[in-house]
């Protein structure tokens, strides 16, 4: 125990707490709460029933009212702890409510109706997860469709990004040809033009080639990413040209050199780009919002926003769907975070 606390509270210099140690731990613990807390709150909330979501003050864990089958009634009735006029408390089931008076029965003796002021009763609750928040949208709503569209967009866009960007990077790093620097400048130059600036003309180009309201219209404009070409080119420059020359001596074609030698050697850079591409495309919002107009082709992000934007916000479904939307990104985070963070720190990517 003392070893653990010693480890946890290791601090500068010798004995006693320096004020900076206190600041450090306050900041770290506060950061932990502020960074993870909201997401956790979302996850907890996503298991609550609509009635419980509307409750204030909210509870952390999801609760459901306990119900009981009572003889003579078709549906199960909600149970309440009731304080009777004589001061005793009993567990009663509510039959119906008229104004502030509830008509209740004892589940063991359903014959006699007891009238109770609603201020005198509190629901009997137990922890229960409203899994129907997840099941209903997945079964009946368009959610599964959105999910499929998003998966398709993400996988296709990433695949095409990797292939085309690596080919271009190969040409730009391993060949000397006229206009190479011009091409490179052009690509690096467009790093500074965000998609939000090109919305109108891009929209008309995409419509002109017949991709409006199609998933390919979401995929294609995003795949020729300058960042990817640039990152891969910088990496491929470190692959020695002698290796390529040796392969050429053995009569390998340039295409074989590309996919047999350069691609495998560039695997670390390709992996970084793949992770980024997955996260970017999965999270895209503005462009799909512009280019997709009918529900059948909505991606998750657009679909979620339309649910949240409707007048009657069905939070119980939205929260559950948001949690599902988070899953791939959380997986990336858990398994690859080390990889990504060193990638960012090294290259200033994104």
């Amino acid at each position: 125990m003392s070893a653990v606390s010693k480890f946890l509270f290791r601090r500068r210099g010798g004995n006693g707490w320096h004020w900076t140690d206190i600041v450090t731990w306050v900041w770290l613990i506060g950061g932990l709460i502020i960074m993870f807390g909201p997401a956790l709150w979302l996850v907890f909330s996503s298991f609550k029933s609509p009635a419980q979501l509307a409750e204030f003050p909210p509870t952390i864990l999801p609760y459901v009212s306990q119900q009981a089958e009572v003889e003579g009634y078709d549906k199960p009735l909600n149970l309440y702890d009731v304080t009777l006029p004589d001061g005793s408390t009993r567990v009663l089931a509510e039959v119906r409510r008229i104004g502030i008076v509830a008509q209740m029965v004892d589940p063991a003796d359903p014959g006699e109706i007891i009238k109770v002021n609603i201020a005198e009763r509190t629901p009997v609750r137990e922890i229960g997860f409203a899994t129907e928040n997840y099941v209903t949208p997945l079964e009946s709503n368009d959610f599964l469709l959105y999910l499929r569209n998003s998966v398709f967009v993400t996988l296709m866009a990433t695949l095409i990004t990797l292939i085309t960007n690596s080919m271009a990077a190969f040409a730009l790093s391993k060949y000397k040809f006229r206009g190479r620097d011009a091409v490179l400048m052009l690509i690096v130059g467009t790093l500074m033009v965000p998609l939000s600036v090109l919305l109108v003309p891009l929209y008309s180009v995409v419509s002109a080639v017949g991709l409006y309201n199609s998933l390919w219209g979401v995929i294609l404009p995003t795949v020729a990413t300058p960042t990817g070409v640039f990152l891969l080119r910088q990496y491929m420059l470190t692959i020695p040209d002698e290796l390529l020359d040796a392969a050429r001596m053995d009569n390998a074609s340039e295409w074989q050199i590309y996919w047999r030698i350069v691609l495998p050697l560039a695997a670390p850079a390709l992996a970084v780009l793949a992770i980024f591409s997955v996260v970017w495309r999965w999270n895209d919002f503005l462009w799909p919002l512009v280019v997709l107009s009918s529900k059948e082709v909505y991606t998750l992000q657009v679909g979620l926003n339309t649910y949240a934007g409707e007048l009657n916000v069905q939070w119980h479904y939205i929260l559950a769907m948001t949690v599902v939307t988070m899953i791939p990104v959380v997986l990336v985070f858990v398994f690859l975070q080390r990889f990504i963070t060193s990638g960012i720190a090294g290259s200033g990517l994104k």
């Binding site: 900041w27 909201p38 467009t190 008309s204 419509s207 020729a224 340039e254 985070f333």
Partner: protein, 321 residues
């Protein structure tokens, strides 16, 4: 793999016919084709769009009006008062964006700096803490917007916490100042981890022996920070400031989901203006949207040139060291 092997014979023939020069063209072609159609052509078209009027989307159906759209955007009695402008919404959005950028970048730089300094200390589980602050960077803007909308709504967590401490509760996203504060804080929350990493990399590149020498001289920690850490971190700090400026100017997704631009137009920023004028509103005007996007693009180009310049200077400095 078999597909690549299948492609080999025809490509070999192509190589024989054109030499390696032809192969370079072949490798560049797919990327350049997509790049050309979906980046370069739109880039050029945007200028033409900004000089046309009407609500049609195809350039051929639009009437050429020269610089009229720019004139309309710039027609203003007093640039500091959006109410006196013909396109009051544009100036309102521009003003909102400027205020947002100022507060967001300041708050972001400050918190990222403090976090990086703290993560650079000898603390247990540094990798874990680094991950904690990085986590929101991966979340989608829609998820970020929804999480915080859920927390800030009337029956939300924030009100619950305030209620527990006996403070007043509010409907945060329907009041101007709170909605603005939420937009700034939420975007800082979502992006801070990224900038923290850049600063952390900079901090770790500062040679240890400088600190050891300072310690031997008995220099006070505050002085060490102002005289060693800050000057040596300056290149990274500038990159962080400029990069976060570029991103903040383009703010859209998370705020749009969080507040929808409201209440009123108090959290409506330039990208949302372009989106609404170009697509979402009934009185859509693609020409006006294009002109506005070019004006925003100019700001971004200037900022990016500054950033590229800074990057180059850093590289040269690195090469000299």
């Amino acid at each position: 793999m078999w597909l690549a092997a299948l492609l080999n014979p025809p490509l070999k023939a192509w190589q024989r016919a054109t030499g390696t020069g032809g192969m370079a063209a072949f490798f560049l072609a797919p990327n350049m084709a997509i790049f050309g159609v979906f980046v370069l052509i739109p880039l050029v078209m945007n200028f033409f769009y900004s000089m046309t009027s009407g609500s049609a989307y195809f350039l051929a159906d639009r009437t050429f009006v020269g610089l009229e759209q720019y004139g309309r955007l710039l027609d203003c009695g007093n640039y500091l008062d959006p109410g006196t402008c013909r396109e009051d919404l544009f100036w309102k959005a521009a003003q909102n964006t400027a205020i947002f950028v100022f507060f967001q970048v300041s708050l972001m730089t400050l918190t990222a700096m403090i976090t990086a300094l703290i993560l650079n200390r000898k603390i247990a589980g540094r990798g874990f803490w680094r991950a904690v602050f990085f986590f929101p960077v991966l979340l989608s803007p829609v998820v970020v917007g929804l999480i915080w909308r859920w927390i800030l709504q009337r029956q939300g967590l924030l009100n619950y916490v305030l209620y527990t401490f006996g403070a007043d509760t509010h409907d945060w996203l329907t009041e101007r100042l709170p909605a603005f504060t939420a937009a700034v804080s939420v975007s800082v929350w979502a992006h801070m981890g990224f900038f923290t990493l850049i600063l952390l990399a900079g901090l770790q590149a500062i040679p240890r022996d400088l600190y050891e020498a300072a310690e031997m001289d008995g220099t006070k920690p505050a002085r060490v920070f102002w005289r060693i850490t800050l000057p040596l971190l300056m290149p990274n700090l500038l990159v962080v400031i400029v990069l976060s400026l570029i991103r903040a100017v383009q703010i859209f997704d998370e705020v749009y989901v969080l507040t929808g631009g409201g209440p009123g137009t108090s959290t409506m920023y330039l990208t949302q203006y372009i989106y609404e004028v170009g697509f979402a509103s009934l009185l859509r005007n693609p020409g006006l949207a294009a002109a506005a996007s070019i004006m925003m693009g100019l700001v971004l180009v200037v900022l990016t040139l500054v950033q590229l310049g800074l990057g180059r200077r850093n590289e040269q400095k690195g090469a000299r060291e």
